[in-house]
């Protein structure tokens, strides 16, 4: 082991002072690799995340809902682009990252491997899934890597619209027919537990978390963020008039926090390993978009060369 070099000392001092690391700074290889993995996974999640809701674009119940959904799905594409752009500051290439995603060498959030069965799912994704994403992402606006933190600030501004349109959709459905209310409850039943899994494995099983927190890449532990999410969401469920599918859910009067039941981590692992209900379909569609869209890139390149 060599003595810490001057650049390492400078890096450590920058982190300790809560200043940002910028692309031109020296950084430890582990820091760079961790960031590439996390940002790429995040970017992939945004891009794959267009699919579950995109499925409903042509079947939206009104022009208003269709315009809203279109704007939201377009935002997800934008979020993916901001993040790939941040990843590229670390010396990777976005086409390469996409290939890794398609080949299964990089992951995306397991939540997007569940199907969207009714339009209530669109509302519940906005409320619960984007709600969980906000919980995860707001602290990342203070991430130690400048380009990532800046991308997150932009994303968080837009996520608020996503969550509110979802909740409003659900309020509308809950004020509708018995069938519509049942649809909302059914969607909540299916999405609640997967949304809790979005925060990742429990702290005890998350070996990389401590280093990521020491580097200021992550700001809070998985369990801490999960608890914060539950505490924020339960009152929203009560207002909406739906039942969260957890018989153990109860308020601890002393701490003011909610106790919740055990999460099925075996399911999480299965879905992450590719055995979720829609894994194969999501990747097949991403592959088709890359391969069948290649001619568009070629045509634009040819046009640019002709007019250069």
């Amino acid at each position: 082991m060599t003595a810490p070099s001057l650049v390492q000392e400078h890096f450590d001092a920058t982190i300790a002072a809560e200043h940002r690391i910028e692309p031109r700074d020296w950084m430890p290889e582990g820091y760079r690799k961790t960031l590439v993995r996390q940002i790429a996974q995040h970017a992939h999640s945004e891009i794959i995340g267009m699919q579950p809701e995109g499925d409903w674009l042509l079947a939206a119940p009104s022009l208003r809902r269709k315009a809203i959904l279109l704007a939201k799905v377009q935002d997800e594409a934008g979020h993916g682009m901001y993040l790939y752009s941040a990843a590229e500051t670390l010396g990777v290439d976005r086409a390469d990252l996409t290939d890794k995603l398609i080949e299964g060498r990089q992951k995306y959030s397991s939540i997007f491997n569940y199907p969207t069965l009714t339009y209530a799912d669109v509302g519940v994704i906005g409320w619960l899934v984007d709600g969980a994403a906000i919980c995860n992402q707001v602290p990342l606006c203070r991430s130690s890597y400048g380009p990532y933190a800046r991308a997150m600030i932009r994303i968080c501004k837009e996520e608020s619209f996503h969550q509110r349109q979802g909740y409003e959709l659900l309020l509308t459905m809950m004020a509708g027919t018995h069938e519509q209310r049942a649809m909302v409850q059914d969607a909540v039943d299916r999405w609640w537990w997967p949304s809790l899994m979005m925060f990742g494995p429990p702290d005890a099983d998350s070996p990389n978390s401590a280093q990521s927190m020491a580097w200021g890449i992550k700001r809070h532990s998985n369990d801490e963020l999960r608890q914060r999410y539950v505490d924020m969401t339960v009152p929203q469920a009560e207002f909406l008039g739906v039942t969260l599918p957890d018989p153990e859910l109860s308020l601890d009067p002393e701490t003011g926090r909610y106790h919740f039941g055990a999460i099925d981590w075996e399911e999480f692992k299965r879905v992450l390993a590719g055995e979720g209900p829609r894994n194969a379909e999501r990747i097949a569609r991403r592959r088709a978009a890359r391969d069948e869209g290649a001619w568009v890139l070629e045509a634009a390149t040819a046009y640019a060369e002709k007019h250069a």
């Binding site: 704007a71 682009m81 752009s85 500051t89 976005r94 086409a95 890139l297 046009y303």
Partner: protein, 119 residues
């Protein structure tokens, strides 16, 4: 002095023997552009991010779609990242240090009695 390129976006990146190489060539056929947006009249253009595009015109269109979906701007600049020349972090001492000992350039350097108005 290191050679400076902006491959990777978000500002130029110095390369050279003293800067650790970042692995992996960028194989996208489209050049990288840095995007600057003027939020409203009276403000400077500010760097907001980067994107790949086949030419300047497409870069402006892509920047409009990507960075101004909610009226975030009234004007966009795009510039090829490769055309940006930047200072290197390695030479920051020589480049910025000279201003450090010129405290007389700041208004707070001068003691003015408190009862002198409007100064």
């Amino acid at each position: 002095m290191s050679e400076v390129i902006a491959e990777g976006g978000h500002g130029a990146v110095p390369t050279g023997p003293e800067v650790p190489a970042v692995p992996g060539p960028v194989r996208s056929g489209w050049p990288l552009y840095e995007v600057f947006v003027r939020g409203k009249r009276g403000l400077n253009h500010v760097h907001v991010g980067s994107l790949h595009a086949p030419d300047d015109e497409m870069a402006v269109h892509a920047a409009r779609d990507l960075y101004t979906r909610r009226n975030e701007g009234v004007s966009i600049w795009v510039v090829r990242s490769a055309d940006i020349t930047a200072s290197s972090p390695d030479e920051k001492d020589e480049l910025f240090a000279p201003s450090g000992d010129k405290v007389y350039r700041h208004p707070t350097f001068y003691d003015i009695p408190e009862n002198v108005p409007h100064i």
